[in-house]
Subunit: 873 residues, 2 copies
Amino acid sequence: MKKFVYSFNEGSKDMKDLLGGKGANLAEMTKIGLPVPFGFTVTTEACNRYYDEGKKIGDDIVASIFEKLEELENTTGKKFGDVENPLLVSVRSGAKISMPGMMDTILNLGLNDQTVEGLAALTENPRFAYDSYRRFIQMFGDVVMEIAKTKFDAIFDAKKEEHGYEFDVDLTTEDLKEIIVGYKALVKEEMGRDFPQEPKDQLMEAIMAVFRSWNNDRAILYRQLNEIPDSIGTAVNVQSMVFGNMGETSGTGVAFTRSPVNGEKAIFGEFLVNAQGEDVVAGIRTPQPIAEMAQAFPEVYTEFTRIAELLEKHYTDMQDMEFTVERNKLFMLQTRNGKRTAPAAVKIAVDMQSEGLIDKETAVMRIEPAQIDQLLHPMFDAEELKEAEKLTKGLPASPGAATGQIYFNASDAETAVANGAKAILVRLETSPEDLAGMVAAEGILTARGGMTSHAAVVARGMGKCCVSGCAEIKVDEEAKELTIGEYVFKEGDYISLDGTAGDVLKGQIKTVPPELSGDFAEIMSWADEIRTLKIRTNADNPRDAKQAVEFGAEGIGLCRTEHMFFEEERIPAVRRMILADSEEERREALKFLLPYQKGDFKGIYEAMGDRPVTIRLLDPPLHEFLPHTDEEIKALSEQIGVPYEKLAKKTQELHEFNPMLGHRGCRLAVTYPEIAEMQAEAIIMAAIEVRKEQGLDIIPEIMIPLVGMRKELADVKATVVKTVEAVLEREGVKFDYLIGTMIEIPRAALTADEIAEEAEFFSFGTNDLTQMTFGFSRDDTGKIIKEYREKGIFDDDPFQSIDQVGVGKLVKMAVELGKQTRPSIKLGICGEHGGDPKSIEFCNAVGLQYVSCSPFRVPIARLAAAQAAIKQK
Amino acid sequence: MKKFVYSFNEGSKDMKDLLGGKGANLAEMTKIGLPVPFGFTVTTEACNRYYDEGKKIGDDIVASIFEKLEELENTTGKKFGDVENPLLVSVRSGAKISMPGMMDTILNLGLNDQTVEGLAALTENPRFAYDSYRRFIQMFGDVVMEIAKTKFDAIFDAKKEEHGYEFDVDLTTEDLKEIIVGYKALVKEEMGRDFPQEPKDQLMEAIMAVFRSWNNDRAILYRQLNEIPDSIGTAVNVQSMVFGNMGETSGTGVAFTRSPVNGEKAIFGEFLVNAQGEDVVAGIRTPQPIAEMAQAFPEVYTEFTRIAELLEKHYTDMQDMEFTVERNKLFMLQTRNGKRTAPAAVKIAVDMQSEGLIDKETAVMRIEPAQIDQLLHPMFDAEELKEAEKLTKGLPASPGAATGQIYFNASDAETAVANGAKAILVRLETSPEDLAGMVAAEGILTARGGMTSHAAVVARGMGKCCVSGCAEIKVDEEAKELTIGEYVFKEGDYISLDGTAGDVLKGQIKTVPPELSGDFAEIMSWADEIRTLKIRTNADNPRDAKQAVEFGAEGIGLCRTEHMFFEEERIPAVRRMILADSEEERREALKFLLPYQKGDFKGIYEAMGDRPVTIRLLDPPLHEFLPHTDEEIKALSEQIGVPYEKLAKKTQELHEFNPMLGHRGCRLAVTYPEIAEMQAEAIIMAAIEVRKEQGLDIIPEIMIPLVGMRKELADVKATVVKTVEAVLEREGVKFDYLIGTMIEIPRAALTADEIAEEAEFFSFGTNDLTQMTFGFSRDDTGKIIKEYREKGIFDDDPFQSIDQVGVGKLVKMAVELGKQTRPSIKLGICGEHGGDPKSIEFCNAVGLQYVSCSPFRVPIARLAAAQAAIKQK
């Protein structure tokens, strides 16, 4: 028969799935002989059965609970409901993954009208006993019976007022007894039944209440935010009570074996004399630093430091502990691996390795890759952030923290910054004309647009904080008003953005700059030793490229060429090209652009040195380069001297119902080969010149986007090869170059064996591949994805972490089919997923050779790639 | 060693791939002892080698040609270049698939300054000899040397003028000799070399010219239009000349063994006395009906009818023959299976079966499924069509022929029709408001929108002719002008539309109504016996449903519910629903719609009787139901009393960058379950009432669209099941119903094993599946697809015939994965491909159980399904 209840001496730390984190660690501490109040754990499987059986606990489980309860009575020598020596227990939830404060706890269970007197006699402290009973009824009423806390508070406060007391401690034993009468009457009134006097009934109700709390709104939301599956359930820990509030020889505290803030090796924490755990949390009294415990309880402190050291060695990780001192005796109530900031994580990992506690691989595994981001961008001051009001959440488009006054267009933002302000640019969505404003601003907030929108891509390139696609905000650019829920912000009002989390916050919050430690360099060098995946970057200008190299990028996996088309001196030529009536006219405009493009590529090659550079041919639909509103068209018409009618007509002609699926990517190059010719010439001429000038061995990789069919690639490839060969011959030089393609259309993945006949490399464009495989336009489905996550249809946002089941299947197919045709094919990924740790693990597993991500994610990718390599061993 | 040249006595009719159609049939006729002038065929493989080797003929092939030439000389007893008895040959192209008039022919090859005199002596007809030589130089100059025909004509006409001749026959031998001198001078001037006098040089040049003609513009275009692969190449037939122009005992003609127009069993055709084949084609003299040959050449005629009968029996198909009579001797120059109209095809197949010539399966295979369409819709009068000017081509959105005056909006069209006109509605694109105008019009022409655009879908439902997405036309709705190339048509001008081909034609063309023969019913009944695929229809109203049943539909595979939302009385409620601020308000509007929807479904159930009906829940994005231009919004605002600002804001909120990939399909039902609830209730209530009222055993099939994930389907399914069960319980009845899904998102196909856990049936929506698998928006890529077909990137338009390699791979995967999870799963297709014969063959092969297509394609699908079953045996 399956075992649903375990005594603390029956489990171990490896049983977290079954006992939850807290239960498993209590068992472990018991096993290694530490002073833990005895108890037992009802398993997570019991919780799942509770739900499966329609929120009922099976008779066999009830029987097991009572069996373990009897064992507990025997061990403690106390008895449930015994007036002389009553057994009191705490009932606490404990899932496999810690969800602090999300679920409910009940203390002092076992008290009733009789046992309270026994407790009073035993402790010789009636006030303590009745206060404990009062607290128990209140907690039970709240958690189990779901009676509003405020109703209990009203009775309590009325009693204080009646006597004119200022503090809770002013209440006498008699007062507390009267409050208990009031509480019990409230329960009767609310529930139509008496407060349960039978401790076993109290226990079973409490256990079920903990099970129920697994699905309270807070818990569900927490799981969603932290990507914890709903299916794992919670365990329940029933533990005999110890009291830290039994006078000056008692106390309670929490401590870490190393600093969770900076990683310093020393015991950090706080304790409170004569208090129960909840008092520490409630913050009514200010706790003392743990070091002062050495004075207050010297022997206990020595014992505690010994245990702390032992636990850290035992778990080989920094521990976060809870303890209680009852009449000079130390009891351990919890230990777990402590949460820590990114700097602390790095220092602890490096220190523990040099102390010989862990090896390099373990050290590398100890850093959460996503945390690394904190080290590279400005962060909010932790204290101020605690106080800040979170207004809403958008997409975490570009990490970092920003605070400033809001402006609704680029020029207002620029002017404000010129006058010394810090600006946050707030737009419905950004366009290339906003570029100067984006450069000036501290951060960017947009209502529309996904993780690959203009705002997101440009901001990430700059390493500038951006929250995009924030569906719940309303931006009125004309009225210069930003509405979020009830709040209306006007130009000049302060807001703050957390681009790492996607949060929008009210008011100003101090930011602190990043500082990279030697420990960081150390751990990254270990990561580099371990990983087999190469890390490239997505960069389309020398500045980003240099930044990425500093962060450890080993090449460029995606150099987009379209941003270069938007620059002020060039855009008129780009527009002339688009508006051309003949191929000749188009070639004329392209001729003008050629030296600019060549210059772009030279700058990038120089920044990258000998590292490989993949350059993608023009990708977006041409209408993106034209104005859209009537006014803009009129303005442009005057500016470039093309009749309004012609411009308007062309704009209308180029209009597409679904531009994502329209005339873009290699389709442009099929229709207008002369554009691809110009780009190919610029790519090769730049390589020729940099090879000559710098002696660098540049092997350009030319990438043809949006390919769906072999013949389509063959067509564009023929254009490119013809141009390249002609240039090489003209210039009298010879060197290698590669021609490959994006795999971003489902059909390309499905027919990758055919495509590989033409392609020397595949670069998975998993942004578009995800859009088309799901039929989800990222720019349009922000709200839907949110709703899907709330409903549990999506566990993860598939645009943040690759959908391994669907999109991943296509990637796997393409890898296998591609290798089948061309065993030497180069395989990489250049979609946003290239910077996501989970996706990197997937890329490693399916056999890609590199991932490419934005410069600021390069260190994350290096670490994640190392972790993937370790896990895959 | 590979054989590149075959004498006529070495081949057979089964060698068409190698010898081309003409060559294989010449060989076959030779084999069965018919009088065929001897010759040889240079193979299609030689043609492909010619291209592979850079437009050169390999030495080995040249040697083989000369070897066969020698054999020809031996057989005929004539010699190339022999002045006494010169061998003259024709050189003709002949691909595997006939491409009439598309490639070039050279007659009288072998003539030079010497042999012409020999021919004169031999025929005792110097004028004939010199005229032949003159024609040969002209043809050779045109075809081989590419000298403009007009230059030859100028010399010829000058000579006629010089002597004041009216007719060509007035030219004397001397005149012809002088013309020849002029021609040769022209050649020398144009080519810088003399006209080749060596017959072997003439021959090799002519053969290469035929190879080259495979890739002339006409031939390429023809292949594109007729979906003939470029790779098959053409053969070249070299045949000793016979002359039908040797006086009154000679002649030439073409004939069919049965009428190609109506299938009547009798020899049909024409002949000309004293003429060469080209004279018949040139139409200078009017040929006589073939029957009159009985008088002119009684013996030859008897011989010819014997041969015709023999050939028909030999080929067991109606033959299209060419022959020449040289001095009372009959020579067969060609035979092939004759092209025929749809009515002729049906009659010939049925007649031949009853004559015992062929079996039922062969008869069924003899009908081109696409031809069937001609039988169901009005057609153009064949004679008038010949004269008509084709202006441009759009998408063949809905078959049939229409002629009428053009109107640019629905109300103008309605008014004109009310006044007795026949109208063609011309729009940029249609919207639901155009419905009345579409009903009134004879046909619809749109500049934008694909095969699944509003215009196309609605027109097909009505069986009304429609050409959509006609990218080359310019429609100015305000100015009421239609521009096509050079032509500008104004309101009231006549145009004609061929919806079967997608052609737009100038002026009025008489149309003739369809008439279904008993033969047609016969052949369709044979098809039904043979096929295993079921044929359903796409219909969303009782009228279409009834029509489809008449055409043999066995159920509805796709009943769209969105069109019902557009009807005049309902659209206000639909808009109220969309504009609702609360779920309550939305439910209120839905309550109003419920009885209408129920009525719709009752009508459809009644029309379909016991046949299964699959109803799809609401699919399009909600903004499709709202107006978009400022003016329309203002008008609606006044009409329904919702403030303009609110309406405008909502419209803007609902705006999507890529609606195809936006908030539609099951995503609507996830967000607004109340819509799905209303539809589910209507579906079930209608079934309950029709079961009661009519005693029909209706088992509704509820289809959830655009599913990509199992959980998404599970969510909507839960909503539907809850509603249905509640209704059944409320009404106290019980019957089966099915819940299934469209497979139209690539991810659904990739994860079909998971989806099948929830779905009782899959219906492949290959329109959207193709769009997303290719990343091609059908509404936007008409021009691109055209260009891709011209460049040979696409062999077929993947929206017309399923892309078996890519999209088909997904379909196959989904079928296999679906069956793996649920062996009993029902599998069908409801995309446009369901009516395309090639795609039907694919569906049959991958194991679908039914295809569903628009009513007018049901007979085509029945026939195609039978042919698929036969082929798959």
